[in-house]
C-alpha cells in the first residue's frame, strides 16, 4: 500500500498542518511513502519526508518574516525587494535527497514556470534541480523575491515561482500516481459555512476574505474530483460484481451462460474502468475558522493554529477509529 501525505498552500495558516503532524507522525507514528505540498505546504512536506518533524516544529515556533527573507540590495528591480536566503539556508541544513533515500520517502511539489506558464512538478529523489533551490522556488512570491532560474537548461530558461498561482492543492496530481491512500491536511476555511455571515467593511478585509475563499475552493474542487473518481471506480466494481451474480447466473442454458460470461470478460478487458485508480482520501480541515490573516506570521497566532491542528487531528483519528 502506498500512502501519501498532502498539504495545501495555506500561507501563514500552514502552521495548522504542523500541529496536525505532531499527532499523526509523533503520537500515532504514521509513515508515508510520498509527501506532497504547495507553497509553505511543500516545506512542511519536505520536513516530514526527511523525518525532521521536530526541526519543523521549532521553525514554526520562531517563524517571522526575518526567518524567511531579507532585503535584496543587489538587484531589487530585477528580482524583487526581498530574497529568501535565510529560508534557503535553513532548508539546506535539514532537507537533502540522501535523507529522503534513507527514509524511503518521495517528495513531490509544484511550481509555476513564469516564462511559459506551465506547472512544473518536482519529484525527489531524482529531479535534476538541487532540492533546496527548488523548495525555495516553491515559496517564491513573484515580484517580491527572485524566481529560480536554471541557467544550464538550454535556450528556454525556466523561471520557477510558487505553484499556488496555478494549483494550491495538488490532489488531482496525486490521483494520477499509484497511491492507495491519501491523507490531506488542508489549512483552509472550515468545511461547514458559518452560521453568522459577516460583512467586510473595507478593501483590505475584502481582499483577505477573497484570498481565503480562493484557497478554500481549490481544496473543495480537488476533493470533489477525488470523490467522483472514487464513486466511478466503486460503480464499476458494483456492476462487475453483480452482473455475473444476478444476470449471467439466471441463464439456464450452460453453453449460452459460458458465451455470455466470456463476452462480458472481453468487454471489461478492453474497458478503462479496471485500470481506474481511485485512492481513499482522508482530508483534515480546521474545525473552526483561523482568525488571523493569511499573510501574518505572529507567534501567538501560529501557536494557536498549531494547537487547533493537533486537537483536530486527535478528533479526526478517533472518529475514524470509532467508525471502523
Amino acid at each position: 500500500m502506498k500512502r501519501a501525505l498532502l498539504f495545501n498552500s495555506g500561507l501563514a495558516w500552514a502552521a495548522y498542518q504542523v500541529g496536525a503532524l505532531r499527532h499523526l507522525i509523533i503520537d500515532r507514528e504514521m509513515r508515508f511513502d510520498l509527501c506532497a505540498g504547495t507553497g509553505l505546504g511543500a516545506i512542511n512536506a519536505a520536513f516530514v519526508a526527511c523525518q525532521e518533524v521536530e526541526a519543523l516544529a521549532v521553525f514554526w515556533e520562531r517563524l517571522s518574516w526575518r526567518q524567511l527573507a531579507r532585503l535584496n540590495w543587489r538587484s531589487p528591480w530585477r528580482g524583487g525587494p526581498l530574497q529568501l536566503k535565510p529560508l534557503r539556508k535553513f532548508i539546506s541544513q535539514h532537507i537533502t535527497e540522501d535523507k529522503l533515500r534513507q527514509a524511503g520517502t518521495q517528495l513531490l511539489f509544484n511550481c509555476l514556470d513564469v516564462a511559459n506558464g506551465r506547472e512544473q512538478i518536482f519529484l525527489y529523489p531524482g529531479a535534476n534541480v538541487p532540492l533546496a533551490d527548488a523548495l525555495a522556488a516553491a515559496v517564491t512570491l513573484p515580484g517580491l523575491t527572485p524566481p529560480l532560474e536554471q541557467h544550464n537548461s538550454g535556450a528556454d530558461r525556466p523561471q520557477w515561482v510558487d505553484g499556488t498561482l496555478v494549483n494550491s492543492f495538488i490532489l488531482p496530481t496525486l490521483l494520477q500516481l499509484p497511491v492507495t491512500e491519501v491523507w490531506a491536511v488542508a489549512a483552509t476555511l472550515p468545511q461547514l459555512a458559518s452560521n453568522s455571515p459577516r460583512l467586510y467593511p473595507h478593501w483590505r478585509a475584502i481582499a483577505g476574505r477573497a484570498l481565503q475563499l480562493n484557497q478554500a475552493q481549490d481544496v473543495q474542487l480537488g476533493l470533489a474530483a477525488a470523490q467522483q473518481l472514487v464513486a466511478a471506480a466503486a460503480a464499476h466494481q458494483h456492476v462487475s460484481r453483480l452482473l455475473p451474480e444476478q444476470v449471467v447466473e439466471r441463464i439456464p442454458d450452460a453453453a449460452t451462460k459460458a458465451i455470455v460470461q466470456q463476452r462480458l470478460s472481453q468487454v471489461y478487458g478492453q474497458s478503462m474502468f479496471p485500470c481506474l485508480h481511485a485512492p481513499t482520501v482522508h482530508c483534515l480541515t480546521p474545525s473552526q475558522e483561523l482568525t488571523y490573516p493569511l499573510w501574518r506570521f505572529r507567534a501567538s497566532d501560529l501557536r494557536a493554529a498549531q494547537a487547533l491542528g493537533y486537537a483536530d487531528a486527535q478528533a479526526f483519528i478517533s472518529g475514524l477509529r470509532n467508525s471502523e
Partner: protein, 322 residues
C-alpha cells in the same frame, strides 16, 4: 443538438470574446440553448443571451478606460485609502455599457443564461440562472464583474456578493453536469500554445505570473472536463455492449427482457457520478498569447481584438466542418 456557450474570465480581453461570439452567431448560424459565464465573461454572455451581441461589439469599438472605470475619490476621501471599500469604481461601465441594455425582459426565449457569484459573507458560491433567479439580472451582472479591491462589491439583501472568479474562474464541469447540452463552445483568452516569454524584471514577473494564474483557470478547467467526458463515454459504451451481448446471445425473449431489466437496475443502483452522455467541447482560444491581459481599454486595441476573436472563431468553425 443542444448547444452551449461558455465564457470564462476575460479581464481586459473582452473584445476578443465579443468578436468570436458574434462570428459564431452570425457566420456560424449557431443558436445557444445554454450560455454560461464567469467574471468578465458574464458581460459578453449577457449581451448574447439578450440578442444584443452586435450592440456589444459597437460598444467595444468606442470604449476607453474612462468609460469603464474611474477612481472613486469620494469614497477614498471619505474613508481614507486604507478604509475605503474599493480603490476604484466601475460605475462608468454600468452607466455606459450595462444599465441601458441588460434586463430580464430582454432575455431571448428558450435560452438559459447561468453564471456564478461569490457570497463573501457566507463563503459560498451562488449559481444564478435566468430566467428564474430572484435577483434582477442587471444586479447579478453588476455583481459578477465586481472585482474585489478594484471595484465596489455588491450588497444584496444584507449579503456581500462579488465576482465569482474568486472561487472558480471557469466552472465548466458544473455547467456540463447541470445541463443537458451535447456540444459546448468555450470562448476564452488563454493561449493554446504558450510562448516563451520570461519576465525581465520584478514587476514584469509579477504581471506575467498573474496572467498565468488567470489563464490556468481556463486551461485546467478544459483539461479536467475531459475526465468525466471520457469516463462517461466508456461507461455508456460498456453498458451498450453488455445490452447487445444479451440481445444476441439469449434467444428466449421473455428471459431477454428479464435480464435487460436486471442490467438496467444494476446500472441504475451503481451510483455512477455522471449519468449523462459525454459533451463535445470545442475550445476557441487564441493560438498565441494576446498582449495585455491587464492592459488598457482603447478603441484601436479593442478593434484588433474583435477581429482576432472573429478570425479564431471562423477557423474553429471551419475545422469543425472539415
Amino acid at each position: 443538438m443542444k448547444t452551449g456557450l461558455f465564457l470564462p474570465t476575460l479581464v481586459s480581453l473582452g473584445p476578443y470574446a465579443a468578436g468570436a461570439v458574434q462570428a459564431l452567431l452570425q457566420d456560424g448560424g449557431l443558436t445557444f440553448d445554454v450560455i454560461g459565464a464567469s467574471s468578465g465573461g458574464v458581460i459578453t454572455g449577457a449581451f448574447a443571451a439578450t440578442g444584443q451581441i452586435d450592440q456589444l461589439v459597437e460598444i467595444w469599438r468606442s470604449w476607453e478606460n474612462r468609460d469603464i472605470m474611474a477612481v472613486d475619490w469620494r469614497a477614498l476621501l471619505r474613508g481614507g485609502i486604507f478604509w475605503a471599500p474599493s480603490l476604484m469604481t466601475n460605475e462608468p461601465e454600468h452607466r455606459t455599457g450595462l444599465d441601458p441594455y441588460i434586463s430580464d425582459a430582454k432575455l431571448l426565449p428558450g435560452v438559459r443564461f447561468r453564471f456564478h457569484v461569490s457570497n463573501l459573507s457566507a463563503g459560498t458560491e451562488e449559481i444564478l440562472e435566468y430566467p428564474g433567479a430572484e435577483m434582477p439580472l442587471l444586479t447579478a451582472v453588476h455583481t459578477a464583474v465586481a472585482v474585489p479591491v478594484l471595484f465596489p462589491i455588491v450588497t444584496y439583501q444584507g449579503v456581500q456578493l462579488a465576482d465569482g472568479a474568486i472561487l472558480n474562474g471557469c466552472p465548466l464541469a458544473q455547467l456540463m453536469l447541470d445541463t443537458d447540452i451535447e456540444r459546448l463552445y468555450v470562448v476564452g483568452v488563454a493561449p493554446q500554445l504558450p510562448l516563451y516569454k520570461p519576465g525581465r524584471n520584478a514587476p514584469g514577473i509579477l504581471r506575467t505570473a498573474l496572467e498565468w494564474n488567470q489563464y490556468s483557470e481556463t486551461t485546467a478547467a478544459i483539461a479536467q472536463a475531459h475526465t468525466p467526458n471520457t469516463l462517461s463515454h466508456t461507461w455508456q459504451a460498456d453498458r451498450q455492449a453488455i445490452t447487445q451481448i444479451i440481445r444476441e446471445c439469449v434467444a428466449d425473449k421473455a428471459l431477454q427482457v428479464e435480464l435487460l431489466c436486471q442490467v438496467e437496475r444494476i446500472y441504475g443502483e451503481s451510483g455512477f457520478p455522471w449519468q449523462r452522455p459525454s459533451v463535445e467541447i470545442i475550445p476557441i482560444l487564441p493560438s498565441e498569447q494576446l498582449d495585455g491581459l491587464f492592459g488598457d481599454f482603447q478603441p484601436a486595441r479593442s478593434r484588433a481584438l474583435l477581429d482576432r476573436g472573429r478570425e479564431d472563431a471562423l477557423r474553429a468553425l471551419h475545422n469543425q466542418q472539415s
